[in-house]
């Protein structure tokens, strides 16, 4: 039954792709979107069924891939990711109906987008190395094509796509090496065979496979220092695609690390997980710092994805650390917190990316310094953005609070452990979580304050109007889920716990208090998000009521005080750049800002300034100090190597002869 549903998901996705390729222009978008939504619906159905009953869905056919066969298997852990991808996919597709621009309605895009969504649904179901790599590459290529959709009009898209292509292929190569190493050493390429054989593997094989896999999945998840493609590709991709990439695709990086590290290899030594935690902490800090100082709305969100992936990795690493120290219950809680953050991040980041795309469509720009006053002009979109922003800033009663609280609890309760690695790592993890929490709050105060409040800074922002209703619905469903999951997290926590138990051992008892409360059994500290939400509602209404009672005089509204200036313009407002400026100063070493002041004088006298231009930009340190030199080295190697094949047939014949002799010598 579940297997049939899985097949239906895949087939409907292919049908949607076909419809996008051959349907006439008028109904192309509608038809391919509806079929994709149906595919996602089936995916959601099979995922909830598997999560609910625990029955594993299995599909195997020998006809699709030669030699190895195509095998899918959906267990509870994979089902969680399928469900997340399906929900984000449905919302993105609904959003897409009203979204125009970026050439997403072209024949190529309409046919590739369903393919991308389908691979997002199917990657967590892959049950063998070949199937997994096939689907993984299909996902990478289809998302690359979707990033490139607008390449004719904007040259920066090409650059972003180049970065993405290189990084994703680098990751895929690492992944290929790691998984093939495991498959050859265990003697079977299905995941079940690897899991069964991994216990007898020598530790260097396991460790090198794990490191390779972390590199491969980390590059897809946007983990520092492999994140450089993310703040380029996500902003340049069309709205629904950027939401899918940020809310669904990066999750699969986390999926892969947990699936291989905890599932296939069955956990590992302490240093594996310290590595994961370190990379997570770096990603969280680096991502949140850059998002707090970015002025491009979608770039800000992309860096914030790196930040949140860092938090998930922190949870995954903490879980592995606890497991290797023998704290099974805490390991389960930490992994559940990380997975819960995967789910909630998908919900709020999906809604944020979709609303940011609405704003981009309505105003034609993503630059916060050119927006302003949008809450009045786009009340629905603006409010949805606010809900997402409050949620990502981890404020109750929205969902981001619950997962970060749980992650914090899991790390805090590891403190009394006698294991030195845990005793050192956990306080640092808690500190990182606290710092990123503060920076994220700052980021979204900036995004909402500069972009939505105040006065419009440019004409397009002043003339912006509300977007199509389907775009409200797409983002609105996700924003509503933020609130629902924030007030009633018990709707997802059992499923997340089951999924976590599925990878790290089924015998661990339930460590969480259920019902309306969230808490760790046996440990003080319980969270009742519903009550918290209710309390907040009561407090806010009390304060509002009291203010209304106390207010005596009528409110007089006058112009903002501008030192008595005759003309005040919207450009005199606080900007996103100036908001981030103090932070840029404090973290100058990390953000390495560059300033460029250009003053030109009038011809008659140097005492009079004709024009002054000021340019400031922040540089990604990893890009500057790691990737640029590496790219320069490759280019140098390319120019050197080009001298060898100079077009002479004689030389090529000589190469062939030499190669033949070498082969003969080696073989003989």
């Amino acid at each position: 039954m579940t297997g049939a549903l899985l097949v239906a998901t895949a087939l409907l996705g292919l049908a949607a792709s076909l419809a996008g390729a051959i349907a006439p222009g008028r109904i192309r978008t509608l038809l391919s979107s509806v079929l994709t939504i149906a595919s996602c619906g089936f995916g959601l159905a099979v995922a909830t069924e598997v999560l609910h009953t625990g029955h594993v869905a299995v599909v195997h056919t020998d006809r699709l891939l030669p030699l190895s066969g195509f095998s899918l298997m959906l267990d509870r852990f994979g089902a969680l990711f399928v469900a997340v991808s399906a929900v984000v996919g449905i919302c993105a597709m609904v959003f897409r109906l009203g979204y125009d621009g970026h050439g997403l309605s072209s024949r190529t895009a309409s046919s590739v987008l369903p393919l991308f969504v389908t691979t997002l649904l199917l990657v967590p179901t892959a049950a063998s190395v070949t199937t997994f790599l096939f689907l993984w590459e299909l996902m990478a290529v289809s998302s690359l094509l979707l990033v490139l959709v607008d390449h004719r009009r904007r040259p920066e898209v090409q650059e972003a796509a180049q970065w993405y292509a290189v990084m994703t292929q680098f990751g895929a190569a690492a992944l290929l090496l790691g998984l093939v190493l495991l498959a050859t050493r265990t003697g079977g390429q299905s995941f079940a065979a690897i899991a069964a054989g991994s216990a007898h593997l020598p530790s260097w094989v396991k460790s090198s496979a794990f490191v390779l896999v972390v590199i491969g999945f980390g590059s897809k998840a946007g983990m520092v220092p492999l994140h450089v493609w993310l703040p380029r590709a996500h902003p340049e991709a069309p709205g629904p695609v950027s939401a899918l990439m940020s809310a669904a695709m990066v999750n699969l990086g986390i999926y892969g690390i947990v699936r291989v590290g905890d599932g296939l290899l069955g956990g590992g030594p302490v240093w594996w997980w310290l590595l994961v935690m370190t990379l997570g902490a770096l990603s969280a800090l680096f991502g949140s710092l850059h998002s707090a100082t970015s002025t491009d709305l979608k770039r800000l969100l992309a860096y914030s994805t790196t930040d949140n992936v860092g938090l998930m990795l922190l949870g995954v690493g903490a879980s592995g650390l606890f497991a290797s120290a023998g704290h099974q219950s805490l390991a389960l809680v930490a992994l559940a917190a990380a997975l819960l953050h995967v789910v909630f991040h998908a919900v709020f980041k999906g809604s944020l990316f979709l609303t940011a795309s609405s704003i981009q469509q309505a105003t034609g720009t993503r630059d916060l310094d050119q927006l302003g006053g949008l809450l009045k002009r786009m009340p629905v979109t603006g409010s949805l953005f606010l809900v997402g922003g409050l949620s990502i800033a981890a404020l109750p009663p929205l969902c981001g609070f619950v997962s970060e609280w749980l992650l914090l609890q899991a790390m805090l309760h590891g403190l009394p452990s006698s294991n030195p690695a845990i005793a050192v790592a956990m306080p640092i993890g808690v500190g990182v979580l606290a710092l990123t929490g503060g920076l994220t709050a700052l980021t979204f105060v900036k995004a909402a304050g500069i972009g939505l409040l105040g006065r419009p800074r440019t004409k397009p922002a002043a003339q912006a109007g509300e977007v199509h209703e389907s775009m409200w619905i797409g983002a609105g469903v996700l924003a509503t889920l933020c609130l629902v999951f924030g007030v009633a997290p018990f709707l997802v926590i059992p499923a997340v716990l089951d999924a976590a138990r599925n990878v790290i051992g089924t015998h661990i008892p339930d460590p969480l208090v259920g019902g309306w409360q969230v808490g760790l059994s046996g440990i003080h500290g319980v969270l009742a998000p519903g009550l918290l939400g209710l309390g907040l509602l009561v407090a806010v209404s009390l304060v509002a009521g009291a203010r209304r009672l106390v207010q005596r005089a009528a409110v007089r509204r006058t112009e903002a005080w501008g030192c008595g200036r005759e003309v005040q313009t919207a450009r005199m407002q606080y900007t996103a750049t100036s908001f981030g400026e103090p932070l840029t100063r404090v973290f100058e070493d990390v953000l390495s800002p560059s300033h460029d002041l250009d003053v030109s004088h009038v011809a008659e006298s140097r005492y009079y300034v004709e024009a002054a231009t000021f340019h400031t930009s922040l540089n990604d340190g990893f890009e500057r100090h790691l990737y640029r030199p590496a790219a320069g080295g490759l280019r140098w190697w390319g120019t050197i190597a080009r001298r060898v094949p100079n077009g002479s047939v004689h030389r090529y014949l000589a190469f062939g002869l030499v190669a033949l002799i070498v082969v003969l010598v080696v073989v003989a």
Partner: protein
């Protein structure tokens, strides 16, 4: 060194400034409202800076107007009123109106010096719009060209209620 010593000696005994006695009802009302604390935003509407010198000196150690609760405030949003000097020039008429608009009500307007009262020697000059009272309603006038610090403080004490 000697100057510092002198200033310290004066600081120990600030100049005696007489109390104004009960003023007109509007001023008494303002004094009751301010209860010993008067925050003023200063607007130079076109003054020759003579009055500014005197205003600066009322906050010097010698006169020390702050002991009577009188302070200059940077933002009109935080002020109880305006302290306007000079004849109102054409360029300053609108900024003066805007500044008054920015002061929360109820508020007072004090015109300091003869120019603020009746344009003084600048009466009829090019670029002069008129006296302060021609542009905004004035509650208290302080005569003098320029008024000496003690006069200013005495008048402001009436407003501050000290």
């Amino acid at each position: 060194m000697r100057l510092t010593t002198l200033a310290r000696r004066w600081r120990a005994h600030p100049a005696a400034v007489p109390s104004p006695g009960p003023g007109p009802p509007a001023i008494q009302q303002a004094a009751g409202r301010n209860r010993g604390s008067l925050q003023l935003r200063h607007v130079d509407a076109g003054s020759c800076n003579g009055c500014e010198l005197e205003i600066a000196s009322i906050f010097s150690p010698v006169y020390d107007a702050e002991r009577f609760g009188i302070r200059l405030e940077a933002s009109p949003r935080h002020a109880d009123g305006l302290l306007v000097t000079g004849p109102v020039t054409r360029n300053m008429a609108d900024p003066l109106r805007k500044t008054l608009e920015a002061v929360p009500r109820p508020r007072v307007v004090v015109a300091v010096g003869d120019c603020a009262r009746n344009c003084g020697v600048f009466r009829g000059a090019y670029g002069v719009e008129g006296s302060v009272a021609d542009v905004v309603p004035v509650d208290l006038e302080i005569p003098g060209c320029p008024p000496d610090p003690a006069t200013i403080i005495t008048a402001l004490r009436g407003l501050a209620g000290t």
